[in-house]
Amino acid sequence: MLRKLLMPTAKTKCLAILASTPDDSHQWNLHGVEMELKERNIEVINLGPLTPCKVIAETVRDRHPDLLVVSTVNGHGVHSMLEVLRTLEEYQVKRSIRIVIGGLLTTDPEKTKTAISTLMSAGCSGVFSGPEAWSSFDEFLHGVVSVEPFPDQVY
């Protein structure tokens, strides 16, 4: 009994906003990411494809998520994500959350490394691309976001 009282109480569910970039109409990737996040007990607001920067920024402002996840596979991810980051800055919400992006970020695989460093220095906390993307994203979620999938079993 005492033990139970001394243990931290179950954390409120982590909330993630999931979006794409304004010029990417792909949807299958968004469903995949949504399912993976939910399986880790993360609550998800999926804003759908072709997400306008304004809609992302307003949702971040209004819903106070722990995480913004942008998934894009059309090969123009770097350019479009910089636009998203600029808009978040304009709304003054960029510093309040962790921002990650993943998918196919450039049409030239040799430029992936440059793309990652550009986006990390522009304010992303994680950039996931290439064959290891899913497993790295998985580790990121375990490490950075404090997720307690089965709080009851802790006791």
Binding site: S25, Q27, W28, L30, G32, G48, P49, L50, P52
Partner: protein
């Protein structure tokens, strides 16, 4: 003068031959003409049709950006028809014209009046799209807005036909919704309903589409059901069936991609389709070249001509099942409005129509589907509010459907064809 698209496909259909057609678009007049010439003149491809695919900027009504990119000499992923304008485009079309060559404009634009106007002024008589199929996958606008916009473009295109003196053609893209993992009864119903919308708004020549899925006998059955339903529901227009090579995650191996393309041609013939939109081996890697297209059209032609038209018993069972389910969806949806446009809007609002995995404000997205890993058939995991019987829902698969199962289903066709290619390579030494 080119033969009209309608007359060309009708002629091939009467001769019992499948028309093959690429999905080809390039930014400059020079490359676009070369592509059209090569399709027209390649030996042994006939009957074949040419394609002029519009670039992504023009599709989303950003003509200024397309013109700017063109001016800078940078690559576009299609032909910016409005930037080039009707005059240059008409000259290009006249140059490739032949008594046995027809060309269709393909675009993917939710609000396409600018494309329709330029295409009409340039002398085209065949185009594609529809209020649902060019909205849900490509835009965030409410369905009501595209229904209104497509009423206008259909009437414009019909009037253009009256001026030309030929029945102008529109192909519905609704049988390709989301590219993969949509059960065929839904695709067949959507294709029919969008076709009925085109007819209602004055279009006299229509094609109904369907995309290749993951099981040949299911696809053949779906095509047969689509033809049977078209005979019942499209009575005022001429129509034909167009089948698409797989639109989902494509094999990475050349051999796997070739097999998939050849299979699509055989399925098209056995399902009695009249035209085939052919993909290329480059689909998994980038924008296909003219060479990629000619090669793939050649495979499709060869396999189509060799395919025997004999449906197996399994195909007949699928055809009946898909016919019954699609008919129920069509009748139910049709009952909701005094015209097809309104009925479509209400049917999506109420979930009578619901496209699995489509995130759009006018789609409920309650229905879910997957590929049955044992048979390869596309099956329901959840029918949402659609009039699909409960027995059609695969509870056994739904119960263990997680992120990994979802990813496996998306890649099922790719993995199976790549695996097959590896085995063939191994057997050959």
């Amino acid at each position: 003068m080119n033969i009209s698209f309608h007359d060309y496909v009708s002629g091939a259909a009467r001769a019992g031959r499948l028309v093959v057609q690429p999905r080809m678009g390039f930014g400059t007049i020079a490359t676009m003409s070369e592509g059209l010439y090569r399709v027209r003149d390649a030996v042994g491809l006939e009957p074949r049709a040419g394609t002029l695919t519009i670039d992504a900027m023009t599709r989303v009504n950003q003509v200024g950006r397309a013109t700017e990119i063109l001016r800078q000499g940078k690559a576009l992923n299609g032909f910016p028809i409005v930037s080039h304008g009707p005059q240059l485009t008409r000259q290009m079309l006249a140059a490739v014209s032949a008594p046995n060559f027809a060309v269709q404009v393909r675009h993917g634009s939710a609000f396409p009046m600018h494309i329709f106007e330029t295409a009409a002024a340039a002398g085209f008589d065949a185009i594609e799209g529809g209020p649902v199929s060019y909205n849900f996958p490509y835009s965030r606008h409410p369905l009501a807005d595209t229904i209104a916009a497509w009423r206008d473009v259909c009437r414009f295109w019909a009037a253009h036909g009256q001026r030309l003196g030929v029945p102008t053609h529109i192909e519905t893209f609704a049988g390709c919704m989301m590219g993969q993992m949509a059960p065929p009864e839904l695709l067949v119903a959507l294709s029919l309903l969008e076709g009925m919308f085109l007819e209602e708004n004055g279009i006299a020549s229509i094609s109904l589409s369907l995309a290749q899925g993951s099981l040949a006998c299911q696809d053949e059955g779906a095509l047969l059901a689509l033809g049977a339903l078209a005979r019942d529901h499209l009575r005022r227009s001429d129509w034909h069936l167009v089948f698409y090579t797989y639109m989902g995650v494509f094999p990475r191996s050349v051999e796997g991609a070739e097999r998939l393309i050849r299979d699509s041609a055989e399925t098209a013939v056995r399902g009695r389709a009249h035209r085939l939109i052919v993909k290329t081996v480059a689909e998994a890697h980038g924008i296909p070249t003219i060479e990629n297209n000619i090669e793939a059209l050649g495979w499709a032609r060869e396999s189509a001509d060799k395919a025997a038209n004999k449906p197996d018993p399994e195909t007949k069972v699928w055809a009946q099942t898909i016919f019954d389910r699609a008919e129920k969806i069509i009748v139910c949806a049709r009952s909701l409005g005094s015209n097809i446009g309104d009925a479509l809007g209400f049917a999506f609002a109420g979930g009578i129509l619901d496209v699995p995995y489509c995130i759009h404000q006018s789609n409920r997205n309650e229905a879910k589907a997957t590929v049955d890993p044992a048979s390869g058939a596309v099956v329901w995991l959840n029918q949402g509010r659609m009039p699909i019987e409960r027995a059609a829902v695969r509870r056994d698969l739904a119960d263990r459907f997680d992120g990994q199962a979802y990813k496996n289903a998306l890649a099922w066709v790719r993995d199976r064809y790549d695996e097959h290619a590896k085995k063939v390579a191994h057997a050959n030494g």
